[in-house]
């Protein structure tokens, strides 16, 4: 029977979750060191069954640190109209009614 790849970190088995967590830690460390890391570089070596979950986690981290970076570079920008995760702009009316 073939196994199905986990789409989320929450559904990974423990050993794969540890593997993804290490990749995420390394990615975060690179961001904190001011290196503007590429997600692709941190997916290398990740088990295929965990790659989707890893990508999801790395994108979430990437968005988080990019928002911090934008906040530093454009302190006057409030972020209105962006969703909490910064993944996609929303119309202000739609945001206000959430």
């Amino acid at each position: 029977m073939s196994q199905k790849a986990a789409a989320n970190f929450e559904t990974l088995g423990f050993s794969r979750a540890v593997e993804v967590d290490r990749a995420c830690d390394a990615f975060e460390l690179a961001w904190k060191a001011g290196m503007d890391p590429r997600i692709e570089d941190f997916l290398t070596g990740i088990d295929a069954m965990a790659s989707e979950a890893a990508l999801r986690e790395l994108i979430a981290l990437d968005v988080y640190y990019r928002r911090l970076d934008y906040g530093r570079r454009f302190p006057e920008f409030t972020g209105d109209g962006l969703t909490d995760d910064g993944a996609a702009p929303r119309h202000p009316v739609a945001t206000a009614t959430r």
Partner: protein, 188 residues
């Protein structure tokens, strides 16, 4: 000793609001929780009966949570014990902070008469302290231990992230790993 099936049975009765099932929770866990609370209180904050107060409050919070349907996932002894440990250690942490603010400890009035007719033993206290240390040792890495300790002291995800200078999602990820690691090992 209960079989897993009978434990599952009284967990279901607990979630249905059966007070007799709460008695079973009491019998199995109170002494361990009091010992755990004693271990978690710094020496300067230990006074006679305080660990029992914390365990009582933890039990009361647990019961209120059950009544309000806050704990839908009590599918096994592991989850229940973990939940009780978390509640107890958080309450110990809050008590220490209350002390620092001069507020003092407040014992919940819930069913004290029913709960106070048991005595904790030093053996169980020592066992609970060892269990807590064992839980931390299971985690291995410093980052997981740091997150576990801060979480058990009652800090929220964002507060932990700020303290450890990482993203909130990183804290959530560590918490999931901690949960998975403990779930495989912890037995009441």
């Amino acid at each position: 000793m209960d079989s897993a099936g009978s434990v599952t049975g009284w967990l279901h009765r607990l979630q249905d609001g059966d007070p007799a099932a709460m008695d079973r929770v009491w019998e199995r866990y109170f002494l361990r929780l009091a010992g755990l609370a004693r271990h978690r209180l710094p020496a300067a904050h230990r006074r006679l009966g305080r660990e029992e107060d914390i365990a009582l409050e933890a039990m009361a919070s647990f019961w209120r949570g059950i009544e309000q349907g806050q704990f839908p996932d009590l599918a096994g002894r592991t989850n229940l014990w973990r939940l009780l440990v978390v509640i107890t250690v958080r309450k110990a942490g809050r008590l220490v902070r209350d002390d620092a603010r001069g507020a003092g400890a407040r014992t919940q009035a819930w069913d004290l008469e029913r709960l106070l007719d048991r005595e904790p033993s030093p053996e169980f206290a020592a066992q609970a302290a060892e269990e807590w240390q064992h839980l931390l040792n299971l985690l291995g890495g410093d980052a997981l231990v740091a997150v576990a300790k801060l979480r058990m002291e009652g800090h929220g995800t964002r507060e932990i992230a700020a303290r450890l200078e990482c993203s909130p999602r990183t804290v959530e990820r560590k918490l999931l790993l901690i949960q998975a690691r403990w779930a495989a090992e912890v037995e009441p």
